[in-house]
């Protein structure tokens, strides 16, 4: 059946986002697809100025993200995340897309906003999807996010509107090198895509970095596909998760995901599936953090 389509998941967990990686960039013929997500972006911020009034290393925290983030991540040589950083940074400042995500961050009320910012398909059934979402939760600093082991909550599955995804933690290592505080091996298994039973699996590696060595107020996580050359479902599954300290004992978590899905003839089903599952991820994470974060 329709085993077709689908794709993947997304971001999961947040944490990092997913995305794949691979060294191989998909660049087949593309045509614009429909934009499905809840694209309600909120543009209440002033262009060019930071939206978070926190400084790190005597710099606005958003400047630290855009100045140091690409360097720290590139030095780890896990995958190419320059395209994702280009979406959230304009030079030393964050982009309007990023600011809008911050302003619209899910805070436990209503439905999380998952914005689909790219959706293209080609005649070879490859689909390239990029989306962003954010939440604001009661974490004194974002490095506590790793301490709460957020990935563990997805082992029981994410079940959201006729879609089911299970994420299992297969490995975990503290301080694996290159300024990473934690490295987690993950296995995704998407079994139900908006009502269609499918086989869709991938293994990824999720690494969390401190951008400023002795500062816990800004962290960046990357996620990349471990088998981009042989995975039958994905060309790329890359993710960036940005953790930023906010005011009043809270932190923002921004999840940016890029998936290049292969061999799915029903891309719209996959988009719906991913958007729904990622909204579910935001809700689960917010609930987990709220219940377990140290006060």
């Amino acid at each position: 059946m329709s085993i077709t389509k689908i794709s993947i998941l997304g971001a999961l967990a947040s944490l990092s986002v997913i995305v794949g990686c691979s060294g191989k960039k998909f660049d087949g013929p593309k045509k614009e697809g429909s934009i499905l997500g809840t694209e309600n972006s909120t543009s209440s911020s002033t262009p060019g100025s930071p939206v978070i009034a926190v400084t790190v290393d005597n710099r606005p925290i958003e400047a630290v993200l855009c100045q140091d983030g690409p360097k720290v991540v590139a030095n780890a040589k896990k995958s190419d995340f320059t395209g994702l950083f280009a979406l959230i940074c304009n030079g030393d400042n964050t982009s309007q897309l990023f600011k809008d995500a911050i302003v619209g961050a899910y805070q436990g009320q209503g439905e999380p906003q998952v914005k689909l910012i790219k959706s293209t398909s080609d005649d070879n059934y490859n689909t390239d999807i990029v989306f962003i979402q954010a939440l604001k939760a009661p974490l004194a600093n974002p490095s506590m996010f790793a301490d709460l082991k957020p990935h563990d909550i997805f082992a029981s599955g994410i079940h959201e509107i006729n879609s089911d995804l299970v994420i299992n933690v297969e490995s975990r290592a503290s301080f694996p090198g290159k300024r990473a505080v934690e490295q987690i091996g993950l296995k995704y298994s998407l079994t139900n895509a908006n009502g269609a039973a499918i086989f869709d699996q991938r293994r990824t590696e999720f690494n969390t970095y401190l951008l400023v060595e002795n500062n816990r107020d800004i962290v960046v996580s990357t996620e990349h596909l471990l088998d981009p050359e042989t995975n039958i479902n994905y060309h790329i599954a890359n993710g960036l998760t940005i953790g930023l300290k906010a005011e009043n004992g809270e932190s923002y978590m921004v999840f940016l995901t890029e998936l290049v899905i292969k061999n799915r003839i029903d891309p719209d089903r996959m988009k719906v599936t991913l958007l729904n599952l990622n909204a579910g991820v935001s809700k689960m994470l917010y609930k987990h953090i709220s219940a377990n974060a140290p006060r």
Partner: protein
């Protein structure tokens, strides 16, 4: 010539990194020979807290003339170069001796001589040195369990060091100048976040030597890494150079100058500032432990 006697020195650091050393030459010289005395060391000895009349022995030079003759269990050519240039003492060696002789009540400081970080390999290299003067004789310094002084547990807000020293009682010594051998085991945890720690382990061997047969006024301690495939430490070496403060020669006179060098080459896991701070904290802990054990 050569009979044994005591030695001095000691200790090592543990921590890990390594040290190295160079050789010093092997020319044998009578301890009482006037030609072994450099003008620089005469000046230093003149400041010594002991009998100024016994300035006949140039201990730094005598040390360098004999260190290279010791049969050691590790190559310390890199670290030894810190103390000796051929059979002559280096300027650093003489400087640290002078600092020890001028200290009052153990008021010594550690010197971070090298802290280099390679971001490509996540590798850091540290050289740390210090010196102090104690009133007990070199012979007694060698007789004390320095390995216990440097293997005491150490806990701060950011790190937890557990150490274990086990004498190798069944291990034959290498020569008449080899006084003891101890297995050292270290487990270090550095707090990264509230829930994540950077853990490392290392095994070293700590050996103590008398430097010259028949001379109880000099001692040499060497700690070196024994688990050569250690993923965290490439080098963990400590040299302890101890010798009479200038006040005597086999006559029961004089205190002891102890100069220690630590050399570590380690994987900083991308956290060079944290590694630097932790290594300095641990070196200070070792130095304080040594001084407290030897100060009286």
């Amino acid at each position: 010539m050569k009979t044994f006697q005591s030695c001095t020195l000691r200790l090592g650091l543990l921590l890990t990194f390594g040290i190295m050393v160079s050789h010093c030459q092997k020319k044998s010289t009578s301890p009482a020979s006037e030609d072994t005395e450099s003008s620089l060391s005469k000046e230093v000895i003149a400041d010594a807290p002991s009998d100024a009349a016994s300035t006949a022995v140039d201990y730094p030079k005598l040390y360098c003339q004999n260190l290279g003759k010791l049969k050691l269990r590790a190559d310390i050519s890199q670290e030894a170069a810190f103390f000796c240039k051929g059979d002559k003492p280096s300027a650093d060696f003489l400087k640290f001796r002078s600092q020890a002789l001028q200290q009052v009540n153990g008021n010594f400081e550690l010197s971070l001589l090298q802290a280099e970080h390679d971001p490509e390999s996540d590798q850091s290299e540290f050289l740390i040195a210090w010196s102090f003067h104690v009133p007990i004789r070199p012979f007694e310094v060698k007789a004390r369990p320095i390995y216990q002084y440097v293997s005491q547990g150490f806990t701060t807000e950011t790190l937890d060091l557990k150490s274990l020293a086990v004498p190798r009682d069944s291990d034959p010594l290498d020569s008449g100048l080899h006084l003891w051998s101890v297995d050292m085991n270290y487990e270090l945890s550095i707090k990264g976040t509230q829930g994540l720690t950077l853990n490392s382990q290392r095994k070293t061997q700590y050996n103590l030597y008398q430097v010259q047969s028949g001379n109880e006024e000099m001692g040499f301690g060497l700690e070196h890494l024994v688990d050569l495939n250690n993923p965290h430490y490439k080098t963990s070496t400590m040299l302890n150079v101890s010798f009479n403060d200038g006040g005597g020669y086999n006559d029961g006179k004089g205190g002891t100058v102890v100069v220690t060098l630590l050399h570590f080459v380690l994987n900083n896991q991308g956290f060079p500032a944290t590694a630097t701070r932790s290594i300095q904290d641990i070196a200070k802990h070792i130095a304080d432990g040594m001084y407290q054990g030897l100060k009286q």
